[in-house]
């Protein structure tokens, strides 16, 4: 199996606080990798290392190696914008821009200088179709994105990320603000998307990880306790702490 992303001895400190230590994790192509663990275990922090969103926070120090397609992600001379174009992100709370549905999806390509209307229209339609939103919004492309329902907004945010044609899609608890129906639609969508994309998803829900992921990493206090095939982790956890967490004894 081909590794798209790989981290070696990754550690991260916020000032004096050690958020991640010695994290070694491979992310395989066209697989869904779930990051699970209790609140504050470092799974979101880890996710944000992969597209360097932690750069935005003061006093963050990252050590160790992160490779994307074999190239280092950290360090001087790395083009963050190029990285983020290839490693897209979907956030916990749907956060459409206060502009039209069309403009939301076209935003990323436009910032890269694409101005041609026909090209943009093509990109937007393709992304909306991939995000299974096109049929619901095709007649209201100029309407404000903030008028969509929560689930639709989140699928719009997925479409917005897909419009950049990334290789990897990072999802930070993408369904935690959604109702069960909308959650189900997003999960079905993730199933569909992994044919073309590599997906890393942070989730609080063990059931969700079990349903949609191929591999699972269990984080605790900034360390990876266990990583392996999801079926394996849930059926035969090697570590007692993993077992306790997935059986709901803590977390």
């Amino acid at each position: 199996m081909e590794k798209v992303i790989e981290t070696q001895e990754l550690s991260l400190n916020y000032g004096d606080f050690n958020a991640l230590s010695n994290v070694n994790l491979p992310i395989y192509r066209n697989k869904v990798t779930a990051l699970i663990g209790p609140s504050g275990c470092g799974k979101s922090t880890f996710l944000r290392c992969l597209n360097r969103m932690n750069d935005l926070i003061d006093n963050v120090k990252v050590d160790g190696i992160i490779r994307f397609n074999g190239e280092p992600v950290q360090g001087v001379g790395v083009d963050v914008i190029e990285l983020r174009k290839k490693v897209g992100m979907v956030f916990q709370k749907p956060n459409p821009f206060p502009m039209s549905i069309f403009d939301n999806v076209a935003y990323g390509p436009r910032q890269q200088g694409i101005k041609d209307k026909a090209t943009l229209k093509g990109i937007v339609e393709k992304a909306l179709k991939q995000a299974a939103l096109y049929n619901e919004v095709k007649d209201r492309m100029t309407e404000s994105a903030t008028r969509l329902s929560g689930g639709q907004q989140q699928r719009l945010c997925i479409a917005r990320a897909l419009a950049m044609e990334p290789e990897v899609l990072l999802m930070d608890e993408p369904t935690s603000a959604l109702d069960p129906m909308a959650t189900q639609r997003i999960e079905e969508l993730i199933e569909e998307l992994k044919k073309d994309y590599t997906i890393v998803i942070v989730t609080h829900s063990m059931q969700q990880a079990a349903r949609i992921s191929d591999n699972t990493a269990f984080f605790l206090l900034g360390e990876i306790i266990e990583f392996g095939q999801t079926s394996e982790i849930f059926a035969n956890p090697r570590d007692k702490r993993t077992e306790d967490y997935i059986t709901g004894r803590f977390g």
């Binding site: 935005l56 983020r84 821009f97 206060p98 935003y107 990323g108 910032q111």
Partner: protein, 310 residues
Amino acid sequence: MKGTRTSLSQIDTIVGSLLMILALVASSFIVIIAAFITIRGILPFITDNNGLGSVNVLQFLTDTVWLRGTTFLSTAYGAGFVIINTLYIAFLTVLMSFPIGVLTALFIAKVAPRPIAATMRTIIELLASIPSIVFGLVGVGLFLPVIYGIARSMGYSSGGGSSVIATVFVLSLMSIPTITAVAEVSIRQVDESLEQASLALGASPTQTRFKITLLAAKSGIFSGAILAVGRSLGEATAVALVSGNARSGPSFGLFETTATITSTLLQGLKETNGIDYDIRFSLGILLMVVILTTNLGLNFIKRKVGNVHG
């Protein structure tokens, strides 16, 4: 327990009625002021002004000569050019102060390192609290000689520097702190997750600030601009010091002397009498109407702009 609850609810009733009475008193002042100005301001149009004859309303609204003072006692009070000047100057002021104010706010809120941002925020607050007459003094002492020199070197004549441009400069100085302060607050309130989404899409920080942050803060930014327009329309003393108080117009050239509703109203108010005094109240009505309609218009635009994707 029951007794306590009853007395608490009685207090609620009493406080509620007190608040209502206060609110009624406060709002009735507006009615009283408007009524007083209106009644006084109508006099020149309906009386014969001690034999001079009454002022024609249409001429008052459209004519382009204002014969101020008791020297030329007449009914030639045409405020048409004054209205145009007032709106023109407010427009130029916003044109100048809005971009400067908003960009300053963006810098303070998003770009400046924390200590610099804190210092600049204090400076802006201080600037916003300086009385307008001080800005007028700066205009008279600093701007007028410079503008006079520039105008002369370019072959224009200007009334000692008193001009449209001097007025716009002074009003912009006064407006920029207001626009900056209001815009800065609304820029800081923008949901950070929007900016993060933009960065995560590969947009640069600069693209994010201009395309997302300003867009998301536009409603607040617009409110600041409305306040600035209000201040430009309503400012009297500073404008009277640097406008040149022209008696005719309108003045579109930047080095021409000008006159606004407020400066015309103020100029020589206490040294005159008769119709020349009464007509100032008519200008008062005009000012109220102009400010009210401008505010209504801008708020209407704000709602339209804000609702498109808000």
